[in-house]
């Protein structure tokens, strides 16, 4: 009994049969006495198809118009699902982004939600309608259609759940939850029953395949419990909730990895105020997102500066830094694409010492060299040679007691 927000991803609504399946799940929750608001993605493949169509017109389609085009994907699913529910004699209707008053900024293609005017949804829910909202889309203050970026329907769902003070936000996808490691490379990975927002935020590479990371920030801010689960089974998935006592049994909750990393080092950079800005401003201007940054002080007023970028931005970043290095009289620019990042994540770290040394020792025992280290309150990440990625994940998974029982 309550208000449930359910979000169904592209594979869950890939065809009419699956939409029918989703409708059954929705009506079950409704028949149990709940009010239900549903957020849908585009049917799988549709968004990519639309992007391809636009790219056939021009390499860089006007962003405003691309959003108008892409918004049709979720609109189609919302209409089909509402139609299906009506055909099953349930009171249902669809709302598009602007009808659900999902107000965003003007950043076409990657807009952020500013506010949700809930009066219309609330009225409809109070009259016991099943409201089907097209995810991924909003409207800016000038009435233009915007979209929220890849996985944006997750953020739509969490934001609407927050605005409605929903009891839970269920994210239905094609996997059955979040795992302690990628099951494809670590056979002993287990499904995690409960996870904190902060842990989820710190395991982007594992989590992002399942949930748009931005949505987790939203959920944390408004304390919306998220239940990540599969639309193809009845099994419980993974709850992502506020940190609580029950979570701290394990020091480490998961081992994650990310092969989409490349490293650039500027050697013997003059150690002067403003030098970091000179190095990082031009690549930020080029739209490259820097992940880790490590600076080692060197003797004689010089320093070495290393940072990582996604592999796809490697060439851009390297070209820029070669130019910068000449300008600031750095000695050399080194580069390496064959690296990966492995991380251990867990709120339990806050109250346990020795996690870092255990991680370093575990990797050392396998002769895996650590190239860079960065830490947050609940995460330790190491850059290693790419070829050791799978081995590192498995030995860390075992070392931190995450392996499932045989």
């Amino acid at each position: 009994m309550g208000l449930i927000v359910q979000k169904y991803g592209g594979t869950s609504v890939a065809d009419l049969a699956r939409i029918q399946n989703v409708a059954k799940r929705i009506t079950k929750a409704y028949d149990n006495g709940n009010n239900v608001v549903v957020i849908v993605s585009a049917m799988s493949g549709v968004t990519d198809g639309l992007i391809d169509m636009a790219k056939n017109i021009t390499e860089s389609p006007e962003k405003r118009e691309l959003d108008v085009l892409l918004a049709t994907g979720e609109q189609t699913t919302a209409a089909l699902l509402a139609m299906t529910l009506k055909a099953m004699n349930y009171p249902a209707l669809s709302l598009l982004g602007y009808q659900a008053e999902v107000l965003t900024d003007c950043a076409f293609g990657n807009a952020r939600i500013l506010d949700i005017g809930t009066s219309r949804i609330k009225d409809l829910v109070e009259q016991h309608n099943i409201v089907v909202v097209a995810g991924f889309q909003g409207i800016d203050q000038n009435g233009n259609i915007t979209t929220l970026g890849r996985g944006g329907s997750d953020t739509s769902a969490v934001a609407i759940a927050a605005a409605l003070s929903a009891d839970i936000c269920e994210i239905y996808t094609d996997v059955d939850g979040i795992y302690t490691a990628d099951p494809n490379i670590c056979k002993k990975a287990r499904k995690i029953g409960m996870l904190s927002y902060d842990e989820m935020l710190n395991m982007a590479s594992l989590g992002a395949k399942v949930l748009q990371i931005r949505s987790v920030g939203f959920a944390k801010k408004y304390n919306v419990p998220i239940h990540v689960r599969s639309s193809f089974t009845e099994e419980e998935g993974t709850m992502v909730v506020n940190e609580n006592a029950g979570m701290e049994r394990l020091v480490v909750s998961a081992v994650t990895h990310d092969k989409d990393q490349a490293r650039i080092t500027l050697k013997k950079v003059p150690d002067q105020p403003g030098i970091a800005a000179k190095i990082f401003t031009p690549i930020a201007d080029a739209g490259v997102v820097v992940d880790m940054i490590v600076q080692n002080t060197r003797a004689e007023g010089h320093t070495d500066l290393t940072f990582t970028v996604p592999k796809s931005n490697f060439k851009t970043a390297l070209d820029i830094e070669r130019r910068v290095a000449a300008e600031i009289s750095a000695e050399d620019v080194l580069a390496d694409k064959n690296i990966a990042k492995v991380s251990v994540v867990g709120v339990g770290m806050r109250n346990h010492s020795g996690v870092a040394s255990k991680m370093f020792n575990t990797l050392a025992r396998e002769n895996i060299n650590i190239m860079m280290i960065s830490t947050s309150e609940i995460r330790i990440s190491c850059i290693i040679e790419e070829k050791y990625t799978e081995l590192a994940v498995r030995v860390l998974h075992t070392a931190f007691g995450l392996d499932k029982e045989e």
Copy 2:
């Protein structure tokens, strides 16, 4: 120099190459110093595809949701065309029905335009933008998406042209104008250079293939000159304008035919007040549109009543009238599906006598029997046996001097 509204139908925007072609036509008008507002249909086949998808869910999809679904068709074209224009470095942007403030009533699937709030379009046009509006769609007073029925983009175009006081509304389609008869059955048919709104309204069967008839009513009301022409040639098409002196050279402007007719006769109906209501109310309630009605007074307080309906509604109407006939004690119900309607249309009729007798004589000379007759100020229609349709059109076309010179 002025404000041109251009509407492109489904075949004109059927693929990206044709959209490119349309973009060239638009920019040519723009480069000539005109402001241009464009209304687009869905790419040909798209609307039917969406309807098929909905019908796979249920035989009678919820009309509100069907409109949400269908509206994606025009949205897609509008985005793609605006994107194409932007890629050609023209200032362009798309507007959906609600953004263009096309306010309609709530009749989902067949809504009527109530008002168009032009402030946004006007602002954009004043800044010399090419505004691409998704046709066929509007929004009702509750913010629901509505669609205007088959061919509704024509009405969108004329209504927007009227609201903007455009100099002309160009309707681009896959035929090059309106003909004096269907060229498929009458080889001597000629393209008509200029036609009055009233003539167009009276030649539904010929005209409706080219222009949604409702749009002509709109054009007449607001005196919007329409130019029906092909998007595949540079040729002039047919102007549809207010009646003027230059039009009256010919008594008859066109010969039209309609095979989508079926006839139902109630024999020996008691001739009492209220009897017509008893006969026609139930079929109106069933959504059947009656075309011609003829009543012949008979002796002894009885009358015969004959009417025509579209062939697709024949069975529904016949079932209803058999029930009604029993209730009102009519003697018999006769029915005939093998009929057609041929009409001659022309504003010149107003000032000429003898058109009717010429029509009847022409048909009689070919031994074509006339079953029903109806007339308006500028049209005479006869119901004949279906098999004589082509012959009737050809002999009337010749008799009224419409044949093109060899």
